[in-house]
Symmetry: C2
Subunit: 393 residues, 2 copies
């Protein structure tokens, strides 16, 4: 196990109706002039009403930033930063899914920085401070409610990049599973897929002897296979929603990712795709990740994938031919994804196989390689996109 620091000081407030306590928590964590970040329009009007009255009850000054879209863009972040400065905002409250939370995180870091907030995403500057934020989560999946990361798409360059530091971990997050009971099935399934991918991006590692986090990550995937099926059968199932919601946080706050190499190549390949086609991230992951697994089984020791296939997907271990077991696991993963309504190939996310060269280029690997469980050069990335384009399941 590698050395590491781990710090997750977010206060989690979990259960039915708990969004009604939000004003008091903002006070507790020192806020008085709040920016409320949301999708806007009529989305969740009832919830927003409850939130506004909780803020009013505490006498908090409120500035609103609405209009967040999926795959959130830099334009709204600049707008938010200006508003925050103008109204001397000292706390941000994000009400929504990962897009809203990440927008709030980007505004929080940009407001207290002299330069362009994009510097943190381009790697030009090191993130060290931000305004405090809180969240009310309306969608389980991204894990942003407990994570130190934000992902934003630059509207000028269409680069989708991440910035991270413990200073943007939310001070508190309200997690009410009931708020997700009315989500469309497709969004629910995207969230389930994203949570599984957050487990697997940590699972595929070359760090030896990380038994504990291996077992915990397998536990998350096992749970998601079970609860993913249950929630598609009955979207109102509170218990399934609750397990999915806590899993989304637990797997991405990194308590089970510490001390081990991780591999985020499926995410990188997908981010390029969702920035080009504006497809849902979870759906893009369902297309890319099994293709990436196929590639890894072909070009790397298949034992880790075979282990996952056997421990999690119930595949019989073929000791004479573990690559076969590994491929059984990839197939079982795709069967599950299809069963919850996820696409498995380019056509399913509106991607065009003719764009593959463009997608490869947008990964910016040049003549180098990515880091990870399997290092990928441009040819490898091309092969993975081709496997994803041509999947016939």
């Amino acid at each position: 196990m590698n050395s590491f620091d781990f710090y997750s000081p977010t206060y989690f407030i979990f259960g039915k109706d708990r969004e009604c306590e939000v004003g008091a928590y903002i006070r507790k964590f020192g806020g008085s002039r709040v920016m409320l970040v949301s999708y806007g329009g009529n989305i969740m009007a009832e919830l927003m009403g409850r939130v506004r009255s909780s803020l009013a009850k505490e006498g908090l000054e409120v500035t609103e930033l609405s209009g967040v879209k999926p795959n959130p863009r830099s334009g709204l972040v600049y707008e938010g930063i200006e508003l925050c400065r103008k109204n001397k905002v000292d706390f941000l409250l994000a009400v929504g899914g990962g897009s809203v939370i990440d927008t709030a995180k980007a505004v929080a870091m940009g407001t207290v920085y002299d330069g362009d907030f994009w510097d943190f995403f381009s790697g030009k500057a090191q993130l060290t401070k931000a305004l405090p934020i809180g969240t009310i989560q309306t969608l389980a999946g991204t894990g942003s409610e407990g994570s130190p990361d934000a992902i934003i798409t630059n509207e000028k360059t269409m680069d989708k990049s991440a910035a991270g530091n413990d200073c943007i971990r939310p001070r508190f997050s309200v997690m009410n599973p009931a708020l997700t009971q009315t989500l469309p099935p497709f969004q629910t399934a995207c969230g389930v897929t994203d949570i599984i991918s957050h487990a697997l991006e940590r699972y595929f590692t070359n760090t030896p002897d990380v038994e504990l986090t291996d077992r915990l990550l397998e536990g998350v995937v096992l749970t998601m296979l079970h609860e993913g099926r249950r929630v598609m059968e009955n979207p109102a199932n509170y218990e399934a929603r609750a397990n999915i919601m806590w899993a989304g946080m637990v797997v991405h706050n990194d308590i089970m990712g510490v001390g081990r190499q991780q591999d985020w190549n499926s995410h990188h390949l997908e981010h390029v795709m969702s920035s080009l086609y504006d497809c849902a991230h979870g759906a893009g992951i369902a297309v890319i990740m099994p293709a990436w697994m196929e590639y890894c089984v072909k070009h790397h020791d298949p034992m880790r994938m075979a282990g996952l296939a056997s421990r999690v997907f119930g595949c019989e271990m073929d000791y004479a031919d573990p690559a076969r077991t590994a491929m059984d696991g990839v197939r079982a993963f795709r069967v599950f994804l299809k069963s919850i309504g996820m696409p498995l190939n380019f056509a399913g996310v509106g991607a065009d196989p003719k764009d593959i060269e463009k997608l490869v280029e947008m990964n910016h690997v040049g003549s180098g390689k990515t880091k990870g469980f399997v290092e990928l050069d441009a040819a490898a990335i091309r092969e993975i996109y081709e496997l994803a384009a041509n999947c016939e399941m």
Copy 2:
């Protein structure tokens, strides 16, 4: 899943040699006049030297409180409180295992309280504030490095009680697995046993549909069965030590215990035993917990134990007779405990079956019942002690 709050703001500093950074972390968390709490004597003299020079390097004022014994006593806590007040200590650093950390926690709460610190343990007062503490862990097992609890034995009454609140969670904990490589095998095995029990006290629940935390807790036990064997074969195995150490924290900071009923009856029955005989807590748990399981299989739906037997101990599920599978699991648990050198009956911890009535009385249930997965009255407690006394494995 029940509603809950979860807050674990401890900063974890994990890896080789990291105790040398401790002075800087005390500064970072606002300390300047430090009380160093330890076993004292020649125990870990080299480590204590490294710690003292890190504190000196930062120019920290140091007061020392040494002489902590296993099953830590109230006397030293009173002494520590007096010293803290006299020297205006503003930060406590515990260097040791759970006994040292819990002593530091009790001193931290008592120093800023007007009354008797025991009020928090007797339930007379509600804990709300304490001096900040940090830890350098030298023994994996109790989980006190990341937990909001402390357990102290009252020397006058010989009551062993717990007090808890998020305010006594350590600000930081240094976790260097190498510091545990030279522990005697018996102490190592006690720690492994304690970690398993912290998973199982959460696992046995009547809360339905807690799939995620079920799977995570099983993951911890699976890891401990694996790493427990490896560390007994080779005490210097750093990787096994690292997995055990992180498991001890993760399972007891409650991230996998939230939203579910827990059952701490094995701990209560054991605390009475270790306060009477001053035996090691882990050894006491090895005697009590399988006996408690036997009792539960006899008097309660055996499916939870049968599930554990099948998922974790590799027992074949007998669908016609799950109680048989459950008992196979209890046996497999005892086989494991014996294999790492743990006692399984009263004789092994120096307890006398003639004391059973006294032990029952010391549980203070009167004509009532304990809470938990299975509620225990005095007759049930007697039966569990008898099962523990008479185990012939």
